[in-house]
Symmetry: C2
């Protein structure tokens, strides 16, 4: 077991004293980015299901819960559900729709999560939309070094990008798995890095009680909170996946229940690939996904009524020739929109993803990701996981794709600026002043607004072909490559109280001495 790449080592390698949180103001020499903001999605969602369709999906999900049941591979969970009136048969748990609908009443439709920097508080639910970094790929890639296994160094690089970009609102799972850190202590080093390199909302993997408890404790320390303060409102979150079809595994349920007891958010995301782990029909896959998701949410509401819970959708199709998952497809879009309808029907916040299947940051990666992104917008998704950096169906975090995705995220955020039609917006007087055949560059109406009228991209090249060619005909990934290098080179840690940093280091050191989390290797 190699624990030598410890917290102190990381600190020495990566941190500079006196770091300032310059990025929050949208400044920095690498790029000019949008300021931190919490986008509001005011548009009517796209709703492919009729009202009867919504009822049919609901009824199907209820029949699954009532007549087939969900396997809860966690005796404590099965016990809690049994006591609430579910029919428990070994691991199989069947629950009636009355119980489900009753328990859904206590789910908050919206809530905030407050990280160690309260200015980075995020709101989940309603018409709010927040974005998080790519999470959990085993590999990373960039144009210089190619594709490789994740390390602590690449993990830290991608966390720095997560912190730098204001369009990334929360730090999801590990943006790449640091395979050079032993799994027993990986969560300690990773969370230390994350809590030092970012001041945004963080996530805990529900992979065993020690990991979950350690992360909650570190988030509490980082926030300078008492245990009571930590428990009083959401400070972090976990995401659990069902083992579709119809199964919830032990550690996921265990972690979720631990967070629920302390009032922290659990996102329940069934992984329902239509034709593989779910029916080949998209409404069928969504139905099964709802049944799986609701089952866990009912459990968490029984554990701690009113605790924040959200449903996630990861319903997509597979390539029926190879079984490979596909993302950003027409089917994925419709499944996300149907999930949005069902989430609103149940009063649950919704999580989706900015996913693609492409193997490199080329045009396919862009169209697949943008299809996923507009699926999220048109479904009124509240949390977009994997919003920046995802490639290969989630198997690789690309540095360049991260930067490219932040460009499109910024555009979506700008798209969400309110549209108004005041007299000044209609601009009759300006049209009159300029008149037929004139131009608007010079008129007062333009001069007063031109600096802020339009979104200004940091990555798109809008020069004409001749200028673009003269500058070397640089394509988008190469431009993104230059940008991430500059961001990482200039990165400064967000400020943290040295006493809190010390307390985190002490905690990490103590837990490493105790062996971290048990592993079977």
């Amino acid at each position: 077991m190699n624990t030598s790449a410890g917290a102190k080592g990381a600190r020495k390698r990566g941190r500079r004293s006196g770091g300032r949180s310059g990025n929050i103001r949208g400044k920095g020499s690498a790029i000019t980015q949008l300021p931190w903001s919490l986008p509001v999605n005011r548009d009517r969602p796209t709703e492919p299901l009729t009202e009867e369709g919504v009822q049919a999906v609901h009824d199907g999900a209820m029949r699954i819960l009532e007549e087939i049941g969900i396997e809860f591979l966690n005796p404590e969970a099965a016990d809690i559900l049994g006591k609430a009136g579910c029919i428990v048969n070994g691991e199989n748990v069947r629950m009636g729709r009355d119980l489900v609908l009753e328990q859904l009443k206590s789910v908050p439709t919206s809530f905030t999560i407050t990280p160690r920097n309260p200015e980075r508080r995020i709101e989940i639910g309603g018409d709010r939309m927040v974005f998080g970094n790519v999470s959990s790929p085993p590999n990373c890639s960039d144009l210089d070094r190619g594709r490789r296994t994740g390390t602590r160094e690449s993990y830290r690089d991608l966390i720095k990008l997560t912190q730098y970009f204001n369009c990334i609102h929360f730090a999801g799972g590990y943006p790449v798995e640091p395979m050079d850190l032993h799994p027993s202590i990986r969560h300690l080093d990773c969370l230390y890095d994350k809590l030092i390199l970012t001041d945004k909302v963080v996530h805990a993997y529900s992979l065993g009680k020690e990991r979950v408890e350690d992360v909650m404790e570190m988030v509490r320390i980082a926030g300078g909170l008492t245990h009571e303060e930590f428990d009083a409102s959401p400070r972090m979150y976990t995401n659990i996946n069902s083992t579709s079809p119809l199964k919830h595994d032990y550690p996921m349920l265990d972690g979720a229940m631990r967070l629920a007891r302390r009032g922290q958010l659990t996102v329940v995301t069934p992984f329902t690939l239509a034709g593989a782990m779910a029916p080949v029909t998209m409404p069928g896959a969504v139905t099964q996904s709802m049944a799986e998701g609701l089952a866990a949410i009912v459990l968490l509401q029984l554990v701690n009524p009113g605790c924040p819970t959200a449903i996630g959708t990861f319903t997509s199709n597979v390539d029926m020739k190879t079984g490979a998952p596909a993302f950003g497809t027409p089917e994925y879009m419709r499944a996300t929109q149907m999930s949005g309808q069902m989430a609103r029907f149940y009063g649950l916040p919704l999580r989706a993803s900015n996913a693609c299947s492409a193997n490199c940051p080329d045009s396919q990666s862009a169209w697949e990701s943008v299809f996923s992104l507009w699926a999220a917008v048109s479904s009124r998704v509240n949390m977009v996981y994997h919003a920046a950096g995802w490639l290969e169906g989630g198997l690789c975090a690309s540095y360049e794709k991260f930067v490219m995705d932040c460009e499109t995220l910024q555009q979506v955020i700008s798209y969400m600026n309110p549209v108004t039609a005041t007299e000044a917006d209609i601009a009759f007087d300006a049209v009159k002043e300029v008149g037929p055949g004139g131009h608007f560059f010079g008129c007062a109406h333009t001069q007063e607004r031109y600096e802020t009228a339009f979104y200004s991209p940091f990555l798109s090249d809008w020069s004409n072909f001749e200028s673009w060619e003269e500058k070397g005909a640089v394509q988008t990934p190469e431009r993104a490559n230059k940008i991430w290098k500059q961001i990482i080179a200039e990165f400064q840690d967000p400020p943290i109280d040295p006493a809190i940093d010390e307390e985190l280091q002490t905690f990490v050191a103590k837990r490493k001495e105790e062996g971290g989390a048990p592993t079977d290797f």
Copy 2:
């Protein structure tokens, strides 16, 4: 003047006898594509303007027409408008909202256009959406030969792609300007090629009476129609642009009136770049665009009440640092959506574009185009111009981009398949059969549907990284390059009656002898 590359020469070079219309069945060895279909956009459009906002844009447009006026640089047009009660002051024409709203009553909200092959009939209006090829760039490019001035050869290549892809419903303007054809006879050779190489709806440029009349005559001949039959229903269309702000030029109005008299479609598309030719505020740019568009539509309804007319939107923003037009931006999307609201308010079919600013078919080109495409979908646009092949803000037609765009168009078409939630869709029995921990590959519900359940892309590479790398790590443009070469190599002309072909050739030869269209060089 070089007229040597005549119709017969082209025929000899490009045609094979006995061509079959195999593509219509979605077959062919280059790719497996979707069959020809007319997509129906059932989703509720996205509507950024409130009802009051719609009224404000309407009122602004009416005030422009009433108080400022539009310049009609065509005495005949001004005369017609004057006789209808407009206040004509030289070229300036002011019209009252009563006249506008009265004339809009006769505009058909939907209609069909029937090309020489009635199976390629398209419907315009309502919830129908059709796609056309990139039109009018002076340059073309491909990965092998780079960027170059358009020629008849490249024109013909891109027309073949237009015909080949079933997701391209109409043959818009020249997909690239064939600069090796003298402007006086260019329209004759181009239309001959177009009418032979495609059997889809074609377009006439409104650039002088000879060109317009020649094209109408050639479309009539190609359809085997009498003059009365041609005039009885739409067979083709033109697009006219205003010279924003507030001006309609002579040849555009002349061409539009000629088509209107014969019952053919005119799309009126103001070219209102916010901050340059229109107010810097997007609702203001849309307001001006509506005023310009409605003014010409009123004229055409006076010329021939009930003739098909549509409004186009080309409202986008410019880079305020350089003045360069930008496309696929957040502002472009919102302007398109607002234009959709206004088009529905006025009962007019709407045209938009699949535009981007990128200089090569990289990821920027993809995200900009896909933003434009979703703008069209969410605005309930009826005709999407430039749907395949556009680069550089319209200055270049890319062979590879054409293929890439057809991939995303196919995905949009698949997205528009109706979503149903029947008992078989909900698939409760399949979920019960498979049960917890099973898989759906083998179950009857999947087996009965898997071949057609999901859209299957022809260009996306969904293989895993290792296979993709082993196959040479081929990026999207390179894959598209291979595809267009195969399509062009295998291309077969759609069938045409040899007598009609002969008649077209005779007409072209006669008109060339007469000198074609006058030019000033």
